[in-house]
């Protein structure tokens, strides 16, 4: 296991290195002169020169890249050009919204999907199964931001149970914060839950067809006992993988959903940065998002190997 973990760790480091090179190349090399790009066509040459100085664009590409990476490793993400504050501070502040939103959505979708998938698999072919399969087929086809708008229409406009958007900040109290994140989290969670429930159902059905389940039934366990004691644990392995793969969709979804509900999270930050051509913010936030995806993949790989020893030999 240790050897496997080490080899995954090396590939994690290589992936991060490669991703950072790609992001750096796109942001700092493709536009030609990032300073001139950020300031637009009508900028005075002195202003551009000053910004070049501030961004450290006067050094060689290689030196700039090393500077950027070593800065990030020490928590220094540079200074946002539009906000005039350290990018790290902005990111930490916005993560206070994005992370709870993603966590809330993940918890909701898992809490919905696993029991539903289990229920459908246990009654395979019955009316419950058919209804679940139909509903999940629909759930996969619904774009989450449209679903979010429908939620606003029903629960904010018609019923008035929730506000249509905005975030009071955690200073306003935990419950107020959670309430503001509820509609966004539901919008994010349900399409995810549809996929997860399908995976759960098919994984459980496959497991229930295995010989060891038949043996368990033969020694006198009921279907329910066999599921609880033997099938569930084994069926969770593919579910775990999909959960990891879904993370990048959850992240992307959160970025879009934040815009539907005007939540001050990372998604809003990055879109404002794009319109303001604040490349420093874009570069760091994109690196952070990719970092998150790569690390989650790594953790899932390890978790997978911990559960299933066959995967450690490669």
């Amino acid at each position: 296991m240790l050897r496997y973990a080490l080899s995954r760790l090396v590939s994690l480091a290589l992936s991060l290195l490669a991703a950072s090179v790609v992001i750096f190349a796109v942001i700092e090399v493709i536009p030609g002169d990032p300073a001139a790009y950020m300031l637009g066509l009508n900028a005075a040459p002195e202003t551009v020169a000053a910004l070049r100085e501030e961004l450290g664009l006067t050094g060689s590409l290689w030196a700039r890249y090393l500077d950027w990476v070593s800065g990030m490793l020490t928590g220094d993400f540079g200074l946002s050009y539009t906000y005039r504050v350290p990018v790290a501070d902005l990111v930490v502040q916005r993560l206070g919204v994005s992370l709870p939103l993603a966590g809330y959505a993940l918890a909701l979708s898992t809490a919905i999907a696993l029991p539903v998938g289990l229920w459908a698999a246990a009654r395979r072919g019955g009316p419950v199964d058919l209804a679940v399969m139909g509903a999940t087929q629909l759930g996969i086809a619904v774009p989450n931001f449209w679903f979010a708008m429908l939620l606003v229409l029903v629960f904010a406009v018609k019923l008035g149970w929730f506000s249509a958007g905005g975030f009071p900040g955690w200073e306003g109290g935990f419950l107020a914060g959670i309430k503001a994140l509820t509609l966004p989290a539901v919008a994010l969670a349900l399409p995810q839950a549809a996929i997860l429930a399908r995976v759960m159902r098919s994984a459980l059905i496959e497991t229930l067809g295995q010989d060891y389940i038949r043996s368990a039934r033969a020694k006198g366990l009921t279907q329910g006992q066999a599921i609880r004691r033997h099938a569930l644990r084994n069926a969770l392995i593919p579910v775990l993988t999909i959960l990891g793969l879904q993370f990048s969709f959850l992240l992307a979804g959160a970025i879009i959903i934040e815009n539907v509900f005007f939540l001050p999270g990372l998604g809003r930050l990055i879109f404002q940065a794009i319109t303001q051509r604040d490349l420093i913010v874009v570069e760091s936030v994109v690196m952070l998002l990719v970092f998150a995806v790569i690390v989650v993949t790594f953790v899932v790989d390890l978790a997978y190997a911990a559960v299933d020893p066959r995967l450690r030999r490669r």
Binding site: T136, L150, R277
Partner: protein, 273 residues
Amino acid sequence: MSGRAQLIVGGVLSGLFLLAAAVSLVWMPHDVAALNIADRLRPPGGPYPLGTDQFGRDMLSMLMVGARSSIAVALVAVGIGMGMGVPLGLLAAANRGGWLDEVVMRGNDLIFAFPALVIAILITAVLGPSAVNAILAIGIFNIPVFARVTRGGALSLWTLDYVLAARVAGKGRARISVEHILPNIANLLIVQGTIQFSLGILAEAGLSYVGLGAQPPTPSWGRMLAEAQTMIYTHPLLAVLPGLAIVLMVLGLNLMGDGLRDALDPRLRRAAR
């Protein structure tokens, strides 16, 4: 639903949208470029079967043109994914375990770490927003998907006797890949293509919704939803119709994909994706 029923329902649903998009090239009920303030925000009925938007544009015509841009973006993105991913996958499988295989697969892992939205954000940040960015972002995202499916399918074929026979006959790896492997994974690629097509429609809608895709005045489903959002209190229909179009189109393609999977290869039959 049986595989055949899925295929038929899905085919009819997505066929309707393809037809609407094709018809919009030669005929539309109303001109979508002309603003007609006198007829703004009309309810459905009369000359406007689905009503008009805040600029007096016919919703039906807008939805037809929207179908055109969604389908075009998703289709070209699938083309990019297949065009790059399939050769890479074949190459990796033909050199299984070699350095080429390793390079292709690690490259795939790298692209996998960039969700389509993040690619679109990167491209837009330096080149500005456009429909081409959306195509590129979704297309790049599709490459590793097709490369993996191709490699996986090809690897199992390389162990079969008829491939061995071809090798004994003196055919090279490249020729075997094209003549023997590719035709036998075509089914797999068609099914994956349908899935990526439907994911592409969803992704295009999301990108144009946040302003990273098609730019005004080009109508697209995502943009229509973004514009309708502020009027959801007074004219909810404007926000409901484009969303419904997306759902039906994607649902149709998903059903068709599942049906095709069953029809083309019963061995691939799965309870769920």
